[in-house]
Symmetry: C2
Subunit: 229 residues, 2 copies
């Protein structure tokens, strides 16, 4: 049984971390049993054993692995007989896609919903979260809120390469989903868990793709507590 | 024998179009015989038969296909027994990569070298080229030249997802190159044909990748007339 340290909001049941969602989808994809341990930003000592200051972290027997790409590569190499996370993408384009997500849509997604996210965090996480995010983006929560509609439009526009890819296959990874899909999908789970905003327009093919992934693995992602559409 | 209409500079031998380079590399990848016809922007009537106002255009028997993605998909479907353009990437992530190239690094590459490009064009193409490009970017050639060093830095930074991908494989498409690689490589051929600028730093792994593609197919791309490194 694999253990995943999984970022939680004030409520234990709300698990909103994009990289943790990548890992949960990867574990489901591999058909591996796992349990999650809720973790908050201020609980540094709880994960000190791992050498990482942040989740996701998995324990698998004697192995400790942190960071979503490292975990995906570990699972792929450790469980080669399970369905591949990279069969439809290759390993290098899966990593390319993950880095694109982190550099282009992810910051826009964060800037769009951070003020809402802050409200739902554990009380002991709020000061840390506000300070680090305001520093990262060089904008206060109030400025982010004021710019929200413009940022949302930028976010939607940034997904254009995904829309192109979805004209030729149902997933970024082709006929079935893979890590390239989960790399982006994690951020839509972040939004769904923590924001009431309609991130994607109803006619957007990216929404159709998102909904396919919500339904995957018997609706695993669709069933978790959420406040968003 | 396939015929490719291929954008040329003032000199017949200088073939600098990024999308035409994607097609030439795809034809080489497929091992298909082809001849190229030099074409310039002002020769609209020469390609009117195709319904397209711009190259690349290929003639293959009775088939006329334009635009680099359409051509790649055509070649893949028409010649399925030849080496696949998408085997290491999947078709959807190859298209994703192409669109990313067009939206992020390609405009930065163009803005970096356009003043140099203008110098080498056919005299009858210069006015059209200056007007359309200045309108596209909202900047004059003089403004582009003044901003060149800053734009070049942005271009190098924009390639970060490629650098990540190249940490796990020699090509975006994995162990061997594919259309995802050619989609980006075309723009480096554009620069090599038309600019004396050192686009990539010597230690950049993207340069190692570029040089591998220059050497591919018995050095096909390395042999053409060029003014850049």
């Amino acid at each position: 049984m694999i253990t995943l340290y999984d970022l939680a909001a004030a409520s234990d049941g709300i698990r909103f971390s994009s990289p943790c969602w990548r890992v949960k989808m990867a574990l489901k994809h591999k058909g591996l049993e796992f349990e999650t341990v809720p973790w908050r930003y201020h609980e540094r000592e709880k994960i000190a054993f791992s050498g990482s200051a942040i989740v996701p972290i998995i324990l698998d027997g004697d192995s400790i692995v942190s960071e979503s790409w490292n975990i995906a590569a570990y699972l792929e190499d450790q469980y080669p007989d399970r369905p591949s996370l990279f069969s439809g993408s290759g390993r290098s384009l899966a990593l390319f896609t993950k880095r694109w997500v982190e550099l282009i849509p992810a910051p826009l997604m964060a800037k769009t919903i951070l003020p809402e996210v802050l409200e739902l965090l554990h009380p002991d996480d709020k000061a840390y979260f506000r300070e680090t995010r305001e520093k990262l983006f060089g904008l206060s929560m109030e400025q982010l809120r004021a710019a929200r509609d413009a940022t949302l439009l930028q976010l939607r526009n940034s997904l254009e390469p995904v829309r192109s890819a979805l004209t030729v296959a149902p997933y970024l990874s082709g006929l079935g989903p893979g890590f390239a899909d989960y790399a982006l999908f994690g951020h839509f789970m972040f939004a769904r868990c923590m924001s009431s905003l309609q991130i994607l327009e109803h006619a957007d093919p990216v929404l159709v793709w998102r909904d396919r992934l919500l339904s995957a693995f018997d609706g695993y992602a669709a069933r978790v507590p959420n406040i968003g559409p």
